[in-house]
């Protein structure tokens, strides 16, 4: 099971702050996962936005990464402020 977190404005956009998800068919990597979630939750490309960082098991990742299906995944819009 994947554990997925949507932070800040992404949580609003996705109408959820977290969800558990069995790796969907055809989803093998972080990039295909983003595309699948984008379509599934109608996110308008938000997860692919350059300002959004991705963490797998609480480590920042860059580029495409293969998924096993048991990872914790976090999508992080720009932090800080105020």
């Amino acid at each position: 099971m994947l554990k997925i977190y949507y932070f800040g404005r992404l949580g609003e956009r996705a109408a959820r702050r977290e969800e558990n998800l069995v790796l969907p068919e055809g989803v093998t990597s972080i990039s295909t996962l983003k595309t699948w979630l984008d379509r599934s939750h109608d996110l308008g490309g938000a997860l692919h936005d350059k300002s959004v960082k991705t963490m797998i098991n609480q480590s920042l990742v860059h580029g495409d990464i293969a998924l096993q299906g048991n990872e914790e995944i976090g999508f992080l819009p720009p932090v800080g402020g105020g």
Binding site: G8, G11, M55, G80
Partner: protein, 151 residues
């Protein structure tokens, strides 16, 4: 001697936390501190709502404290940061640093606040009477932070 970071989803009392902190500072003669509170901009902001990423947020703050320890000879550091809903006038953040001399205490406190304002893993949603928005660092916050790469 203590180097502590706490993320709280309830209110806290800055003065009593600072008194408690000062007991952990051993022989340090200088204690600098900073309290950040929710400002009510033109009477419009009703509250802030803050999110963290449990685990990741703490780790980032601990790394910032380690950086500060490498830069300055510090006796103790305390960082308390609110998450959840914080009303206008309430404290969001307390940073306290203790050192032998005041320059190290002031500079490290300033440095850690710059980290918290720009790079710390928090998301802040500001709401007014009608609507709200997610806020991001001001240009001034980024400018403040670049000071440290030049020193």
């Amino acid at each position: 001697m203590g180097f502590d970071a706490e993320i709280l989803n309830t209110g806290f009392n800055p003065g009593s936390r600072l008194n408690k902190f000062s007991k952990t500072c051993g022989d340090a003669g200088a204690i600098a501190s900073f309290i950040g509170r929710v400002r009510g901009q033109s009477g419009e902001v009703n509250q802030l709502r803050l999110e963290s990423y449990p685990g990741v947020t703490e780790q980032g703050i601990e790394q910032a404290i380690e950086q500060a320890q490498r830069r300055w000879p510090l006796a103790s550091v305390l960082i308390i940061h609110r998450i959840g809903i914080v009303a206008v006038g309430e404290p969001i953040v307390l940073v306290a640093t203790a050192a032998k001399h005041r320059r190290a205490a002031f500079q490290s406190c300033d440095y850690l606040m710059d980290y918290l304002k720009t790079d710390a893993v928090f998301w802040k949603h500001q709401s007014g009477p009608d609507d709200g928005e997610w806020i991001e660092p001001r240009q001034q916050d980024y400018a403040d932070k670049t000071r440290w790469s030049e020193t």
